[in-house]
Amino acid sequence: MKNIIEIKNLSKKFVDGTEALSSVNLDIHDGEIIALLGPNGAGKTTLISAVCGITNMSSGSVKVAGFDVKKDYRKTRSIIGLVPQEIALQPFEKVIDVVRYSRNLFGFKNDDKYIEDILKRLLLWEKKDKRIVELSGGMKRRVIIAKALSHNPKILFLDEPTAGVDVDLRIDMWQLIKEIRAKGTTIILTTHYIEEAQEIADRISIINKGKILLTEKKTELIEKMGQKVISIELSEAINHSKYSDEFDIINDPQSNQQIIHYNFLKSDKNFDRFITKLKNDGHVINNIETNEKSLEEIFLDIVSK
């Protein structure tokens, strides 16, 4: 797949010596939704800021659509839209004016039809003549998305777009993000809500302490690192140690000896044999439950390493 953003050995060191990014390499594919997952202070916003031109990088290079973000900043920035983490808006201006202002800043003339479409899509059309200060927090967040979309960007950075918003609005946002992607926009989403990444991202990049720890397709990541625990309840207690040498079972003498927990990995060939052995040993299975490892648990595993 064609890369729309290529980040090579990107480092950022602040004047106080803090290394926010350390030799980051990341390729972002055209038309995908990639989630940058990381705890607070991991370097997600700094990475976005370096690509968008808000922060100067200490070393490395970033190319957007084949253009260098430093040398060809006009070309790169004109196709990028940024939804910042903080709601920063001119409080006494009208909604429509701030959206038009953003469009003009990116070198585009006013296009009332296009602005109307965006505001309608974001349910802001009724509020177009309201001043920002009169809007609710959720509406303000929509306004910053409208501003970012005002110049019809090919790439959209969403820096924690659902931080501090209620569940309904969060689901609306996810729907909106999917709609924007359907029109061919590449979306880079930073979040620390794992469920958000799980819901909408195609690929996931985990960042911690300024380093990219891994970048994988979401489905592959869950498949590769996701573990299933199959809990089998038998009709009578059994000796777990009898099976633990041969099979990957959790041998916990404290737990209910009637329930046996089996660690099931994808393409596990032993499970079938394990069940057959249980049957052959005369055990009767009363119930089977499966618990899959969530992306959140995978994330915590990776970050804690």
């Binding site: 920035r77 800043l105 990116f106 070198g107 585009f108």
Partner: protein, 164 residues
């Protein structure tokens, strides 16, 4: 050059001035008129003419320049400091706009505001004291250059100012 962006910054700044017309334009004009009343009428009646120019007329250019320089400084510094303070500066930094274009946008707005105030004061003064302009083109040039110089200074102050 991103002319559209320069226009956007200029119009955005001017619309703020129009929205806050009383404090932007009327307030400096009123305070300067008070200067005329105090210095020109109250004190001026007791002062001798300076090179055949009455005291009231003599202080007009000084008062215009004083107001214009202060307004240029405060307008330009506030216009860049406010986006820094509320965080909207990031939008400007991530837009395909060069530093020169940003400066042109903000400075031209600050100069327009200050020159407007200067000219309003001049017109107001003409109702209060006798004035004749010997070199109108030079006057406009000097007024313009003073506005530009003080606006640029104000812009630097706005950039250097630390956030609270």
């Amino acid at each position: 050059m991103n002319i559209q962006a320069i226009k956007a910054i200029y119009i955005f700044e001017m619309s703020r001035t129009i929205r806050t017309l009383v404090q932007s334009i009327a307030s400096p004009v009123i305070s300067t008129v008070l200067y005329f009343i105090v210095f020109g009428s109250a004190i001026g009646s007791r002062m001798e003419n300076i090179s055949d120019v009455s005291y009231g007329s003599f202080i007009v250019p000084g008062l215009i320049l004083l107001t214009v320089s202060l307004q240029s400084l405060s307008n330009a510094s506030f216009s860049i400091y406010f986006p820094r303070f509320i965080g909207t500066i990031n939008e400007l930094l991530s837009a395909p706009v060069s530093y020169t274009e940003i400066v042109i946008g903000y400075i031209s707005a600050a100069v327009t505001k200050s020159m407007t105030i200067g000219l309003i004061i001049l017109i107001t003064a003409s109702f209060l004291v006798d004035i004749s302009i010997q070199h109108p083109i030079w006057m406009i040039c000097i007024l313009f250059l003073s506005c530009v110089a003080f606006s640029l200074m104000g812009f630097i102050v706005g950039i250097w100012a630390k956030k609270l």
